[in-house]
């Protein structure tokens, strides 16, 4: 894909992406305000294709907002987000920042999947129906193909026998694994994981994390992860970004950030999280 942003360098990234290819995600001067409350200010970073990045930081530091901006669940108040080099919601046209039409935005979000803290499965559909709805109606797959794919994914997340269940009959951990399968059914290039184990009972957390560990090992999906599970972050991510007050405080490989943080603030945050 040709770059639409010549002359601008992607700051802050040391990921494994090859030189010359566009970053999977690039934030350029992103600002997000809710009224007077500035959540993200002048944020610049990129994520390379295939890179796994964990966002950590105290609540209210803007981590989840970043995921929600990429999924277009929130609109950015200023700046640009590029997905594979092409603008996601706004582009620079004749020197002015212009919003892209919703249909075009939706075409780009097809490359992006998201898994939520609260699962958000569709309760009016069975497990299988949850998985085939978007592939059939957004990607235009036939029902037979979509169903075959759904079964393969359910098998991968260890829920092959739950195909015809209602989501309300499943445990939280099972629902979250279905939600992961549902996101994967769209073949996303980028997967956003927003505190996916925070709503789960402790004994169900590992099932979900193991599914994600396996996913990280077997695929080259770019992942952006917000989590408080530091061991998981260490296991799957090549890079950790520590946020504080809507800005990146520290950015580096997990071994470095977790064992030898440069900032007092990071060390404090980590010891607070690990104490829990």
């Amino acid at each position: 894909m040709p770059s639409t942003d010549s002359g601008l360098t992607a700051p802050g990234s040391t990921g494994p992406g090859s030189v010359g290819s566009d970053p999977a995600i690039r934030f350029q001067d992103v600002e997000k305000r809710f009224g007077d409350n500035v959540v993200l200010k002048n944020l610049n970073f990129s994520v390379q294709p295939g890179e796994r990045v964990t966002l950590i930081g105290p609540s209210g530091s803007g981590k989840t907002t970043i995921l929600r901006l990429i999924m277009t669940l929130e609109s950015l108040t200023d700046g640009f987000i590029y997905i594979n080099g092409s603008p996601l919601t706004h582009e620079e046209r004749n020197g002015r920042r212009t919003a892209l039409p919703p249909r075009e935005v939706r075409r780009k979000t097809r490359q992006i999947g998201m898994v939520f803290q609260q699962f958000n499965l569709f309760p009016n559909m069975t497990v299988a129906e949850n998985l085939i709805e978007a592939p059939m109606h957004v990607l235009g797959m036939s029902k037979a193909d979509a169903l075959a794919k759904a079964r393969g994914l359910l098998d991968k997340v260890g829920l092959a026998d739950k195909e015809n269940e209602h989501p309300s009959r499943l445990s939280g951990g099972q629902q979250q694994r279905v939600a992961i399968a549902r996101a994967l059914a769209m073949d996303p290039e980028i997967l956003l994981l927003d505190e996916v184990t925070s709503a789960l009972d402790p004994e169900l957390v590992d099932d979900v994390l193991n599914v994600l560990r396996r996913l990280a090992g077997e695929t080259d999906i770019t992942m952006l992860i917000v989590t408080h599970e530091m061991q998981f972050a260490k296991d799957v991510s090549q890079r950790v970004m520590m946020f504080d007050n809507g800005a990146i405080l520290e950015d580096g490989p997990p071994e470095e950030i977790f064992t030898n943080p440069r900032h007092e603030r990071t060390a404090k945050f980590l010891s607070a999280v690990l104490d829990q």
Binding site: M71, T72, L73, P102, R106, R107, T109, R110, I112, G113, M114, F116, Q118, N120, L121, F122, P123, N124, E133, A134, H137, V138, H166, P167, S168, R169, A179, R182, A183, M186
Partner: protein
């Protein structure tokens, strides 16, 4: 008592005519009201002001004016403007507009009560707005709106009585005729109460069945514990599946 019953029996054909008229008004009015409620209710939840604001004005107008005056307007004023509708059409139209406005508010608030996460998950799957409302949001809102719609439907049934003012011979009008024919006020009006009650009860049974079905689709009903008995007893099913 025997002569009362034979008077009732003799009056049977007119009475069943009246019941048919009332039922037609109820079903016709309800069908029209439902269509109007969907259009106005959906218009009010769109982010587009040019759709939402007119819808809101229409809803407030028809909620804020009396059904009887709306009926008179359709029946007596429209002909002055060159539009002549037969009484049945006037009756159905007035009921549809009035109850449609109330129901639109129910549709709007039910849609707004569907968990925000459902919208977000749909967006994360890149479903189009029309598709996500039709396939994800509405089926869930539907289960929420049925109890309120059932209440409005029964009010609509009772509201049909106003049409006797525009020459329609509905159940209320026929009961009045029965009173005059039998000369027994107590008897005639008691028969009237009973018939309205039975009609309302049948409607409630139907709506309860709809609600059960809608909830079952959401996986919310323990089908072994709810069943026919809870429908007939006019109760909501007690059993909740694991949430």
């Amino acid at each position: 008592m025997g002569e009362k019953l034979s008077a009732l029996f003799a009056f049977g054909p007119q009475l069943s005519d009246g019941i048919v008229t009332t039922v037609l008004l109820t079903l016709g009015g309800a069908a029209g009201a439902f269509v109007i409620a969907l259009v106005l209710g959906l218009a009010m939840v769109t982010p587009y002001g040019w759709l939402g604001v007119p819808a809101k004005i229409i809803v407030e107008f028809f909620r804020g004016t009396s059904l009887l005056v709306q009926l008179f307007w359709l029946f007596y004023v429209l002909p002055l403007l060159g539009v002549q509708l037969d009484p049945m059409t006037c009756g159905i139209l007035a009921l549809a507009l009035n109850y449609g406005a109330y129901s639109a508010e129910v549709v709007r608030s039910s849609i707004n009560h569907v968990d925000r996460g459902q919208w977000e998950a749909s967006r994360a799957l890149s479903l189009s707005p029309a598709h996500l409302v039709r396939r994800v949001i509405f089926p869930q809102a539907w289960a929420l709106m049925i109890p309120s719609l059932a209440t409005l439907l029964i009010q609509l049934l009772k509201g049909t009585a106003v049409v006797s003012f525009i020459t329609l011979q509905d159940l209320t009008e026929r009961i009045e005729q029965l009173r005059q024919a039998s000369g027994d006020t107590f008897f005639a009006y008691s028969v009237g109460l009973l018939i309205y009650f039975v009609l309302a009860w049948l409607l409630q049974i139907g709506m309860n069945a709809l609600e059960q079905r809608a909830r079952a689709r959401l996986g919310r009903v323990d089908r072994t514990a709810g069943g026919l008995r809870s429908i007939v007893r006019m109760q909501k099913p007690q059993a909740e599946a694991v949430s």
